[in-house]
């Protein structure tokens, strides 16, 4: 018996189960932040009845979904209609596999985890598109097509903005990128063009305000989710909140040193305490960027679909290419 292999499989299974379980509280926490922080910014109380300070409101929302009627339009395409929420949710959940939560705390430490991540997170567009098609609703169709156009366009600047960082660090592995940052400082200092491009493209990729064209409620009701109810709708919402958490965590990993502590403190510690120390800083930084997304939602109106596409192709893409060239030149000159 190859005990090492068995151990690795066992570790992997345990990690995946833990990550799947992690999606539930993550969605609840992000949802609660949306309810409560937006309320504070809009000078109102927000939910304050369920639990102390209303902190279980989003949990109750989640459980309410389970109790609701599961309705399907008569002419819906039954198979794809059922499949779509799962595709969107699994795309989000599977991409959590490669996120390094702390030193050694990564489910699947691959050499090409960056490529894996962007391949998997892009799958959610398929789910959105078939949800829009299968619902037999014109609003859903418009939303599905919008999501396809938007995500496919923003995939390109999103990925290109990373290439500069990959050239800089010489690695496609998230853990090695963090290790590089431990030596050279946080990467956003090195990627002053790349970081804002990534921030904007990531917001568009996960349909956050001001790029929430897909579910623009004042235009196309709820986009591809219009005909969904009950837990199928719940899965879309879960996926959306989890995707927000994942994008923030990837942003932190790539540009803000992942689990590394900020400057005056020791960047990382050893042993079990070190893992906890890393986890603490990772989650703190990640939720800071979740907060930025929530903040943007209260502040900004929505851009129009043509402005959205124009920005991807006319602004972000050329900038990303410039960023790549400049980074490559810097790497050559400084021999990093």
């Amino acid at each position: 018996m190859d005990w090492d292999l068995l151990l690795a499989i066992g570790r992997f299974l345990l990690a995946t189960i833990l990550l799947l379980l992690l999606t539930v509280p993550t969605a609840f926490i992000v949802g609660q932040m949306e309810l409560k922080i937006i309320a504070q910014m809009q000078l109102r109380y927000g939910p304050n009845r369920v639990g102390p300070w209303g902190m279980f409101q989003s949990t109750i929302h989640g459980f309410k979904m389970l109790a609701k009627e599961d309705h399907m339009p008569d002419r819906a395409d039954r198979i794809t209609f059922t499949l779509a929420p799962w595709m969107v949710f699994m795309a989000a959940a599977m991409s959590m596999l490669v996120i390094p939560f702390g030193p050694g705390l990564v489910a699947f430490d691959s050499k090409i985890s960056v490529i894996y991540f962007f391949a998997i997170i892009g799958l959610s567009v398929v789910g959105m598109l078939i949800a829009g098609w299968a619902s037999y609703n014109k609003y859903s169709l418009l939303g599905g097509l919008r999501s396809a156009a938007q995500m496919v366009s923003y995939e390109i600047p999103l990925t290109l903005s990373i290439v500069g960082l990959v050239v800089l660090t010489g690695s496609l592995s998230f853990t090695e990128i963090v290790a590089w940052q431990a030596e050279h400082g946080w990467a956003f200092v090195w990627q002053l063009i790349g970081f804002p491009i990534f921030l904007i493209a990531a917001a568009a990729e996960i349909n956050r305000t001001p790029f929430d064209m897909v579910e623009a409620d004042s235009e196309i009701v709820a986009g591809p989710f219009t005909e969904y109810s009950g837990m199928r709708f719940g899965f879309f919402y879960f996926a959306e909140y989890v995707a927000l958490f994942i994008m923030s965590s990837i942003l932190v990993t790539l540009f803000f040193g992942g689990w590394l502590a900020p400057w005056p403190l020791p960047a990382q510690l050893d042993g079990f305490a070190g893992a906890l120390y890393g986890l603490f800083w990772f989650f703190l930084k990640t939720y800071l960027f979740v907060l930025v997304a929530v903040w943007a939602r209260t502040t900004l109106p929505r851009v129009r679909i043509d402005q959205l596409m124009g920005m991807a192709w006319k602004v972000l893409l050329p900038l990303a290419i410039v960023n790549l060239l400049v980074t490559a030149a810097v790497v050559q000159l400084l021999e990093l």
Binding site: I38, Y136, D212, D217, S218, V221, P301
Partner: protein, 423 residues
Amino acid sequence: MTAKTRIPDPIELDRAEEARLRASAGLAPPTATPEYAGFDTVAIPDRPPVTDREKEVYTLDEGEMLFNMGPQHPSTHGVMRLVVKVRGEIVVDIDPVLGYLHRGIEKLCENATYTTVMTYVDPMDYMSAMHNEHAPAIAFEKLMGITPPPRAEYIRALVMELNRAFSHGLMMGFLALDLGGLTPILYSFINRDEVVDLLSSISGQRMLFNFLRVGGVNWDVSDEFISRLSTWRAKTGHTVGLSEKLMTENEIFIRRTKGMGVLSGEQAVSLGVSGPNLRASGVPFDVRKAHPYSIYPELEFEVITHEAGDVYARYLQRVAELKQSLHLIDQIVDRMPHGPVQAQVPGIIRPKPGRAYAAVESPRGLYSVYAISDGGPNPYRFRMRDPSFISLQAMPVLMPGRLIADTMAIMASLDPIMGGVDK
């Protein structure tokens, strides 16, 4: 087993209608309909098209699709229904369908006494209930030949401007909401709640005030009310500024609204658009100046105009008029005389036979009443001109060629209130 009667599927009926329409337009018949036909079908009209305009809207060219916005839609203000013909995301044609909130208010008023008409007109344009009462009050006073006492006129002007202030404030919020900004609407409602609290303290109701009477107002304002008013007045600039900060200078907001839905001055006049929508197109027409009524000739204010005529200009127009209303409130409070608030009016009002017309400047434009008396205790005929009904006529002019997202911005900038449109 008994044979089931097959109920025809509305979508199939719709297909037959589509085939007929396409044949009349000289197009090929629609392709055979398998179980899952896709989205080339027509939105379901609730009846066959009758007028030429309806036939034009419901006839589709290749690549076009109809869809229904409303009457239940998150952003059609109230229960408005728009039949939108689109090619992809681009709006080709638009047909507003009205009547979902029709309550027959004009007919109800013809069956009510002159005193009780005031209770029926409130829920018409429910964002400006005070103005709804002002026009019939003036018209009935003309019929009766009575003049309200000066203090009553000042109180009327005060509540009119308070009403205008919160109505324009809410328009800012709704415009932001239709553009996807969630916050300004809540800031607007802070201001609105405070104004409504003030008005309810003198009228007893929060939304449908029922405050004006023929020959005066229902209640006098107390000193306590005036002091509460000045407290509100001191902080209202800040509350309005909260929304303004999020909108006026916001790059996304400007890009969404500038140059969008341009209504030229000539177009606006020929369509009959009035109020802030007309003045935002550069036509300086304000009923308060053009056909002065109440105490407006005594107050100092200028007619505000903007030149551009686009959504952004209509937004700036509302903000400027809101601030103008606040200045007018200051003037009115400073100059308010003492005295009675109700003229001597008989218990049952029976004007001599005759006709009267009265127009006021409501937050949405020229709001007028035409009443005919036959000498009886209730109006023989009673008609109202609602400005948002007229503003809706601009939508099929402004929207074609724009994107679906812009239709919402344009509609919100015209600020129609469906209670007034459908009466």
